[in-house]
């Protein structure tokens, strides 16, 4: 490369060459640091991404049937959706659970429900992802107990726990306890996992929800990676070595509508994280440097109007995720704006991934868009913008400090309002919504066969809980809850007492209440 004539620079003093071409973007191949082009040399030629549809509704029994159905239809991993009471650490018969049981996911109030959820599913052979945050360690303990019942050694278990509490304060808002107590619980799982579950990802550092709350792609990327940095710092403080746990930190990104921006985002993510782990943390193991991620197509982009258009949106978004090198993928169903996925709709969503994998040819070459002038430019600019945010949050004192100051929340609220204004003014087109409204009743109509979840789930779960409380050894339950409280008050890892409690059939609500008594609960200051 010839040296630039000193007379030609940008305003900031960056020298400008007479001509830029392919040789100016030397990018290491996939599998080579910093993994911009992918974490493996062969990517999908070696192993396809996992087709993992997020799923759960009504009762553990009905959810189990849906899991068997999806596996039979060719999905290659499970992903558990829990209902709001479970996500918030309430049993199905709690006063606040009224009307909510089974509506957004599967209710799991005790180990009994977890046993039903995985009936007939060999946990040693099927990897399981669980979307659970505040009570993540409790549900993980239940899952580990079921694995033990099945005779599967914990060292064989493959899967992921979302367990990313920072993004709850930022975006998804399913928090229970205050930030520092929650971070202690997350660190307990990272420490426990490093010792006992070497093939399981104890955390899925997530940007999906940040994006769904209305952030830009850059904010999604920056806040996610900075959350990752916060988890690393806490684990190091605990005394773990970076290479002991970093290989099992996983990530979860949105696959939104702007095709090339999304591919650039994933490439920038790998590049930034590799540099962070090597330079900021001195990681020695290559596995610590390789960012692995699950992607989900953007729920917030799917429309109520002309719902069949959503099949197209999901297909394009899924393709961006695949071209961006995702390790695992969920595709949304066309009825996203109406209800949880109906059986017909979720089948189309799964077929979308299968058509992509087996008919489109895009899995044949790793990072096939690498070298595109547009994409390489976007990758660099996304990386630079994300790094600016990361530095800004560093200067604020870290992500917890930034959350307490309302910084990421305010950025997201502003981006979300700006986006809505663009739609209102017509500057941004949403097909079928603010342009191309067809007025043809068949294409406008709400999808038939919508999944309807009534109150039978509540009655079933409530009856089960009453029977459970009557037949279990309640003295033993109280003993385990006391031991858990003592561990929570001290510095011991909470996973062993959690395992004891779940095996005694203490309920989720009882366990979370024991922790609420120790840690207190969190109230946010809303930022509009």
């Amino acid at each position: 490369m010839k040296s630039a004539d000193p007379e030609f620079t940008t305003i900031s003093g960056v020298p400008v060459e007479p001509l830029y071409g392919p040789g100016d973007f030397p990018i290491p191949p996939p599998g080579d640091f910093p993994y911009t082009r992918g974490i493996h040399r062969d990517m999908y030629r070696g192993k396809l991404w996992t087709m993992r549809q997020f799923s759960g509704f009504a009762t553990p029994e009905e959810t189990n049937l849906r899991y068997h159905y999806l596996l039979a239809q060719g999905q290659t991993g499970l992903s558990v959706a829990f209902d709001l009471p479970t996500l918030m650490g309430y049993d199905a018969d709690h006063a606040l659970s009224e009307g909510e049981v089974g509506k957004c996911g599967a209710p799991v109030s005790s180990l009994e429900d977890m046993e039903i959820l995985f009936r007939g599913i060999p946990l040693g052979e099927v990897s399981v992802s669980m979307t659970i945050n505040s009570p993540a360690s409790v549900l993980w303990a239940m899952y580990l107990a079921v694995a033990q019942q099945q005779g599967v050694p914990w060292a064989h278990l493959s899967g992921t726990l979302q367990n990313d509490i920072l993004k709850e304060y930022i975006a998804q808002k399913e928090y229970i306890y205050p930030p520092r107590a929650s971070m202690r619980l997350v660190t307990d799982t990272i420490e426990f996992g490093a010792l006992h579950t070497p093939k399981f990802n104890p955390v899925s550092v997530s940007g999906y929800h940040i994006r769904e709350a209305g952030s830009t792609a850059v904010q999604e990327l920056a806040f996610t990676l900075r959350d990752g940095i916060e988890y690393v710092d806490w684990a190091l403080q605990r005394g773990l070595d970076i290479d002991e746990f970093a290989p099992r930190l996983s990530f979860f990104f949105n696959a939104h509508s702007d095709f090339f921006e999304e591919i650039a985002k994933y490439r920038a993510a790998r590049k930034i994280w590799a540099h962070v782990c090597r330079e900021r943390y001195g990681a020695k193991s290559e596995r610590s440097l390789k960012l692995r991620f699950h992607a989900q197509t953007a729920g917030c982009s799917l429309t109520w109007q002309q719902p069949y258009n959503n099949v197209v949106r999901t297909a394009l978004q899924a393709m961006a995720a695949v071209l961006g090198g995702a390790q695992s993928l969920h595709t949304n169903s066309l009825d996203e704006a109406y209800a949880l996925p109906g059986e017909h709709a979720v089948t189309i969503a799964l077929r979308t991934q299968q058509v992509l994998a087996f008919e489109s040819g895009v899995a044949a070459a790793p990072d096939p868009f690498g070298g595109s002038y547009f994409l390489e430019h976007l990758t660099l600019s996304t990386e630079a913008a994300a790094n600016r945010y990361i530095r800004q949050i560093d200067e604020m004192g870290g992500m917890i400090a930034a959350i307490e100051a309302g910084f990421p929340q305010t950025e997201i609220a502003s981006a979300s309002y700006r986006y809505q204004r663009e739609i209102e003014s017509g500057q941004r087109t949403i097909v079928g919504v603010n342009r191309f409204q067809s007025g043809v009743s068949q294409s406008d109509a709400q999808p038939i066969e919508l999944l309807r979840i009534g109150e039978a789930a509540t009655r079933r779960q409530t009856a089960k809980l009453a029977a459970l409380r009557a037949r279990r050894d309640n003295g033993n339950v109280q003993k385990t809850l006391s031991a858990l409280r003592r561990a929570a008050e001290g510095a011991d890892n909470t996973m062993p007492p959690l395992l004891d409690a779940v095996r005694a059939y203490a309920t989720l609500g009882e366990i979370c209440d024991a922790l609420r008594a120790v840690f207190g609960t969190y109230q946010e200051t809303p930022h509009i």
């Binding site: 009471p85 909510e100 509506k103 704006a337 709400q446 809303p526 509009i528």
Partner: protein, 124 residues
């Protein structure tokens, strides 16, 4: 603007609250995880003319009738109740028969919501 029940999805509620403020209305946002009792009490204390409920969790058939019942009990039936969120057509029709003034489903424009409120509620 209230978020009843356990649902934590507040993007819509916050965007609409801001749009209503931009349109000159006084808006109180209750924050998350409010019970019907908390919402009606806040509405009474703040002497609001409109209550907006944002519900994306599917729990609307349990929550909304309870809010309507409380408004009747406290003789606040001049307060207009509107609902926004994931509410299927059949449920929306049923809620309107019970006294909800409007149900805004996904894709509803800020303009339409502002216009509806301005048209239905006299300037205080």
């Amino acid at each position: 603007m209230a978020k009843p029940g356990l649902d934590g999805h507040d993007r819509g509620a916050k965007v609409i609250a801001r749009a209503l403020r931009d349109a000159g209305m006084e808006v109180i946002y209750t924050g998350l995880r409010q019970t019907p009792e908390m919402i009606v009490n806040a509405a009474l204390q703040e002497d609001v003319q409109v209550i907006g409920l944002s519900i994306l969790s599917g729990a609307h058939n349990a929550i909304v009738p309870r809010v309507l019942e409380l408004l009747r009990e406290k003789e606040m039936t001049d307060v207009m109740l509107i609902v926004g969120g994931i509410v299927p057509d059949e449920d929306a029709a049923a809620l309107k028969r019970q006294g909800v003034a409007a149900v805004f489903q996904p894709g509803a424009s800020l303009e339409a919501i502002v216009a509806f409120i301005k048209g239905a509620v006299p300037v205080a």
